[in-house]
């Protein structure tokens, strides 16, 4: 067991960042870590950016991750993957959805949205471990855009090599019963992607 793992989850309000961080926290507890989780969302109505810090460790003090200490960046929206790069540890892993949510500042012409190629190249300048997971595309194909977050978690689950049942139990704890099966399916879809990672 690693001494400490820090996850930074980033996305846009309504994308299920907080649910994903709840699930990730439950998994950490289940495998025996001390866990702290902290959300940073300010006045985020729908459309604002949301981040959540999840820390696993033998003993965790600060609920916020320090700069240079993020091991895994989970970005549920493409441009959100770029906002917190200074927080990453060298050789950190980035798991990002290429789904785009156009900010209001782009709509009204005050800013522009970078291309997918540009985002990818910037990420790869920071770390070689960049994984694009089409969580939203897969979720939409499954009929419910809301499980895109779970697809990304599934991919992470495969990377972390932790027993299936801890993820299952965490889902049971945090997702509504009527969509549990769908969430299990999304988790499995994310896991399956990792068998042939598009690094």
């Amino acid at each position: 067991m690693k001494q400490r793992i820090n996850f930074l989850l980033a996305g846009v309000g309504g994308q299920g960042v907080l649910t994903a961080s709840n699930i990730l926290s439950a998994v950490g507890l289940a495998v025996g870590y001390d866990v702290k989780k902290s959300e940073v969302h300010g006045m985020s109505q729908r459309g604002g950016n949301v981040t959540s810090h999840v820390r696993w460790g033998e003993k965790v003090y600060a609920p916020l991750i320090g700069g240079g200490e993020v091991d895994f960046l989970m970005a549920f929206e493409a441009v959100e993957s770029l906002r917190y790069l200074e927080m990453l540890r060298p050789e950190a892993t980035i798991i990002a959805d290429n789904h785009q949510i156009i900010p209001i500042t782009v709509t009204d012409g005050a800013a522009s949205y970078p291309s997918q190629e540009a985002i990818d190249s910037w990420l790869r300048q920071v770390t070689p471990h960049v994984f694009w997971v089409p969580g939203m595309a897969i979720a939409e194909k499954m009929g419910n855009a809301r499980v895109a977050n779970i697809v990304l978690l599934g991919f992470l689950a495969a990377l972390l090599r932790m027993p299936d049942d801890v993820w299952h139990n965490a889902l049971v704890r945090w997702v509504p019963k009527k969509v549990l099966a769908l969430n299990e399916e999304a988790l499995a879809a994310g896991r399956a992607l990792n068998k042939a990672p598009a690094e």
Binding site: V12, S25, A26, L29, D34, V35, K36, K37, S38, E39, V40, H41, G42, M43, S44, Q45, R46, G47, G48, N49, V60, Y61, A62, P63, L64, I65, G66, G67, G68, E69, V79, L82, R83, L85, E86, L88, R89, P90, A92, I102, P103, I104, T105, V106, T107, D108, A111, S112, Y113, P114, S121, W122, Q125, V126, T127, G143, A145
Partner: protein, 603 residues
Amino acid sequence: MKTLLAGNEAIARGAWEAGVTFASGYPGTPSTEILENFVRYPHVYAEWAPNEKVALDAAIGAAYAGQRSLATMKHVGLNVAADAFYYVSMTGTEAGLVIISADDPQMHSSQNEQDNRNFARFARVPCLDPSDSQEAKDMIVAAYNLSEQFDTPVMVRPTTRISHSFTQVEMGERVEHPSPIKRFPRNPQKYVMVPANARPRHQFIEERLKKLEAFAETFPGNRVEWRDLDLGIVTNGIAYQYAREVFPEASILKLGMSFPIPIQMVADFARRVQQLVVLEELDPFIENLIRLAGISVKGKSIFPLCGEFSPNIVRECGIKAGLLPPEATLPRVDLPELPSLPARPPVLCPGCPHRSTFWAVKKMHLPVNGDIGCYTLGVVPPLSTIDTTGCMGASIGVAHGASKARGKKHIAVIGDSTFFHTGIPALVNVAYNHSQVITIIMDNRVTAMTGDQPNPGTGKTLQGNKTVAIDIAAVVKAIGIKHVAEVDAYDEKALETTLKAFKKLEEPSVIIAKRPCALLPEVRKTYEPLHINPERCDGCGVCLQTGCPALHHSIEIHEASGRTKVEIDPLLCTGCELCAQVCPQKAISFRTQTDQQSYYPQL
């Protein structure tokens, strides 16, 4: 068995375990979830009061009546409740009383960054600062014992990072504290603060403070962790966690009680360490108390006065001040040269009834005095409608004064919950002293900003029970406002017509712009996305001036003008029809005109 709890959940749990039976509060980030969690426990009563002062008076009444009671609020709420906070320090109570002041360093969702430990000192009330959820729970229990032992209210002061972080908590059992008295106390010397009685009570609170200072020396929440003696850090609240994280070798004096501080303990600690440093967020509160005792100490010359701390900030300041060696810098990634990333500022939600109200208000070209709530976002471009925002209820009062001073019309905009909070007395002033203020009460049937709490206008209590719903129009008329209109906030034309008519009056007027918040569950069921007919859209961009996040440029170009056309995101659009009303080309369908099959996303 430990459970991961948010600080606010832990506070609610602590109050329940402490045998609290009565709680009152007013929603405010980051305190809101305390009462929302507390109300779910058995054998308790909890309520949303119209404002923090009313909440604290109510909690004081329950504590006078012998019930352990709780009042919850955000830091600025205590400004509103300050009068009550001071007198209850003077009177004490029959049973324990705890006031939660949830402070907001960094102003994640606040208008200022005040440090409410100053209030504790000001009113001679002890203040406890939890540093995680376990402490938050345990300190609540300790606070009730302290309150009863010393006949004092106790302030517990979580900050946003404590209230909204999840850490592990070991639960305890509830211990009932039945009322120690049979009848309501008749003890005017203690409870009737006429000058003759208040004078001896002032003596009492000064003596009580001395006893509390002695108690602080033995309070288990104040403790020394001896490690290396080169550096000794005095710290409290969340800063303790950063101290442990960044200075793992340093000796630490952790103050669970930040007022009064155990000055003897500090002096002993100071004597043994080479260098004494205080690590505390916001004001140099502990630092100044230590310095007052003649002990040499550093604090704000090293760490920032403004804003929230983070492990980063503490580490960088520590290295800069030589408390850490330069090699304590963590290895960092090489950052690529990024362009400035598109920001995602908070915006009014799609379907927000405030948007159409602001659209109409903007056309009046009058100064607009705003208030605290979602509608403060009316300041954000492209709506850019609000000229001032200060505190709860300030809109109407400021508009009145400005209007009188200038002899001109002003518009005040205030939400329904804020109107009940402190808007009513200000509107009384407008009517009584007759100013030309057009007050718009944006009645979205909920306290939306803090996450949909019920309020006196909604007909529901915190428990979800049915209750009387206050008729805002009737209140306004009873105050003496003669020109009162109730308008559907989605009806832009009606708002504009009414505003134009009221603008001509020489008298105060009130518009109640009614429409439930688009995020309410019953409203969500009525969402019906609109769509833009690309044949008709000429890319004029008027609809984009509403600032609705559901509207964005499409890839299609309007040939004649060369402008980019606009399209609607069906996942975001609620069908409020503001864009349809303002579109000069009539390119946007109204609900009655939509052919749902053609544009609903494939689900």
